[in-house]
């Protein structure tokens, strides 16, 4: 058993930390306040190669795999959760195209999604299809005359939906078959019949724009179907498994930063004539935060290792996401207690981190859905 990073992974960690500190942290509060996605920062991520993680260089990617994604996303999560989420969620689209796309689709879309700096999105959720992903109502009806599919429906809560150029969209090609009649399509923003609607006003993660998508008689060539007809649900579930490790990485990053801030603050803040870090109550908080975060991190890395070594990882992805997200809320909450009133003020990053951490228990599957996934695997 070897827990060490390779030399290249250690360099990536250093680069991601440097990028997060230089480019992301300075605008994190601003984008949170303005509820605006920092487009320039995404382009910079692309220029350095972050948006191509997990995609081979022949398609414009940066190589690497799940562990590289975890490293970059967790480092970003320390300084700006919205940026970490943006990268993590963006990567779902190129990875799905890499796994299921035809050679032509890979050649056409991957360079744009990687070094091209175009944002990707993953559109599965609908007003009545949240945890119950099988409740999708969006339809894609085949038009034999033109060899196109005609898509109609509405998606909601789509991360990056208001900005994404290339989207992987799930729709029923044979509605009567339920999930077995679901297929995936690659949609481009400028296709006629596509529009994005309301950008949600959220509690946290405000720098990642979450939007509604509307498909009105959108005609997409049959060649844009991703994977085989009727395989959409499987593609979605596999993509979500990988995405969950990304959420685990976000949660791990924000927890690590909350600990760093708490340690620093407890050494500086003097009450009753001495730094509060000398009080056992605070020391025990820090010990709990550090221990649980280390455990969460290990499970995130383990899930990534399974994914990278070609082993099944559905259960571990769910476990790492469940555990790391609950830990992120636990740690940011205690960090807030340590910081007291200052932590509650918007002048400090902690209140934003506290709000941002909460989403990790909800999106890419709620904690409760993960318990369903885990218990099914354990009790089979």
């Amino acid at each position: 058993m070897d827990f060490s990073l390779t030399k290249e992974q250690a360099m990536l960690k250093k680069l991601a930390a440097q990028f997060a500190e230089t480019e992301l942290e300075p605008v994190a509060a601003e984008v949170d306040e303005a509820h605006v996605f920092p487009v320039d920062n995404f382009k910079k991520m692309a220029a350095v190669g972050f948006t191509g993680i997990g995609v081979p260089e022949q398609y414009g990617g940066s190589g690497g795999g799940m562990l590289e994604k975890v490293i970059a996303v967790s480092e970003f999560g320390k300084k700006c959760m919205a940026s970490a989420a943006t990268l993590s969620i963006h990567l779902i689209a190129p990875h799905a195209i890499l796994d299921y796309g035809t050679e032509e689709q890979k050649q056409k879309y991957l360079p744009r999604l990687t070094k091209g700096g175009e944002l990707g999105a993953f559109a599965l959720t609908e007003p009545n299809a949240g945890s119950d992903a099988a409740g999708v109502k969006t339809v894609a009806i085949y038009d034999e005359a033109t060899d196109e599919y005609v898509i109609n429906g509405t998606k909601c809560f789509i991360s990056g939906g208001s900005r994404a150029e290339i989207l992987v969209v799930f729709a029923l090609t044979e509605p009567e078959l339920g999930t077995k009649g679901m297929s995936a399509f690659i949609i481009e923003r400028d296709m006629e019949g596509f529009s994005s609607g309301k950008v949600e006003n959220k509690m946290g993660l405000a720098g990642s724009e979450t939007a509604e998508l509307i498909f009105e008689d959108l005609r997409v060539p049959a060649a844009n179907m991703l994977g085989r007809k009727g395989k959409g649900f499987k593609i979605a579930m596999q993509a979500l498994d990988a995405a969950r490790i990304g959420v685990g990485a976000q949660a791990m990053g924000v927890a690590e930063e909350a600990i760093d801030l708490s340690v620093k603050y407890s050494k500086e803040r003097v009450q009753f004539g001495k730094p509060i870090g000398t009080l056992q109550g605070i020391q025990w908080y820090i010990a709990d935060m550090a221990t649980k975060t280390e455990a969460a991190k290990t499970l995130v890395y383990y899930a990534a290792y399974l994914a990278d070594s070609g082993q099944p990882f559905t259960k571990e992805a769910a476990m790492c996401k469940l555990n790391a997200s609950e830990n992120a809320r636990f740690v940011t909450n205690l960090a807030m207690q340590i910081h007291g009133g200052y932590g509650y003020m918007k002048d400090y990053p902690l209140e934003r981190m506290y709000r941002d951490a909460k989403i990790t228990e909800i999106y890419e599957g709620t904690s409760e859905i993960h318990k369903v996934v885990i218990s099914r695997a354990v009790m089979k």
Partner: protein, 267 residues
């Protein structure tokens, strides 16, 4: 065309500066970074590489762990790297260092179109001597304080940043240029692709054996023993106390101020 970029790994002085009992820096206990001005020199070289496709070679003298820094420069875009490393070279001051680096560049070869870029100075010693000394030892024209470098044929136009303005100088290759950061200049990041391939790029270690017969090497003028500079003492300067604020625009305040200044022999 090949550009040698001389770089130095220095202690990160934004952290705690540790000093050994003998007065030298305790480098082992300190985080290291690439000297900031050297990063700007590398950026200048990479800008020229983007424009002309020239070869960029990172050169450093230091202990074996300096390889990590060189790999980072390769991941930024340098084509190859040279580590000059030997126990005999340890403890060299600027005079000895410039001699060894000059010998190494001579050993590898300096062509008619080639250039050597250095950072203006390193943040540990702050001497700004090594670059100019290399130029002297190799008999090259040198331009210091360069913020912009443009090459056309064998002519190089350099924009020198001075305290009260700037100066444009034309120089012929081969030459040595020391670089400083302009207000907007910022070294580029490593790229992920660069990281993937940085361990595949040419990497050469030049030890004592390789360089000892070079004409520029004088065996009694290298390393700690051959260095004319002796470090007497290194220390972290004591923090100055908090100042005293005098408020008021009246005669009495002015007299108090004058008395204080007089007491401290300022006036």
């Amino acid at each position: 065309m090949r550009i040698y970029v001389c770089v130095k790994q220095v202690p990160d002085t934004s952290g705690v500066v540790a000093v050994n009992p003998d007065g030298t820096l305790n480098r082992a206990s300190m985080q290291t970074i690439i000297n900031p001005d050297d990063l700007i020199a590398m950026e200048q070289a990479l800008v020229l590489k983007d424009a002309t496709g020239c070869q960029v070679t990172a050169v450093t003298m230091g202990p074996p762990p300096a390889e990590g820094m060189l790999r980072e420069l390769l991941a930024m875009g340098a084509d190859d790297a040279i580590l000059i490393s030997a126990r005999e070279f340890g403890g060299s001051d600027t005079f000895a260092t410039s001699q060894i680096i000059s010998a190494a560049i001579n050993y590898v070869g300096l062509g008619e179109e080639d250039m050597i870029f250095c950072g203006r100075q390193a943040i540990d010693g702050d001497t700004a001597q090594v670059g100019p000394q290399i130029a002297e030892k190799l008999g090259l024209p040198q331009v210091s304080y360069a913020a912009e470098i443009v090459k056309e044929g064998n002519d190089v136009t350099v924009k020198r940043m001075l305290e009260d303005g700037y100066m444009k100088i034309k120089v012929q290759t081969p030459c040595l240029i020391t670089c400083i950061s302009d207000q907007d200049s910022k070294a580029r990041y490593m790229t992920l692709s660069g990281i993937n391939h940085c361990y595949e790029k040419p990497y050469q270690v030049l030890d004592f054996e390789a360089l000892k017969d070079e004409p520029l090497i004088e065996l009694d003028k290298i390393g700690l023993k051959g260095s004319p500079t002796n470090i007497f003492k290194s220390f972290t300067p004591p923090q100055k106390g908090v100042g005293v604020m005098l408020e008021g625009a009246d005669r009495k305040t002015a007299e108090t101020l004058a008395a204080e200044l007089l007491k401290k022999h300022v006036i």
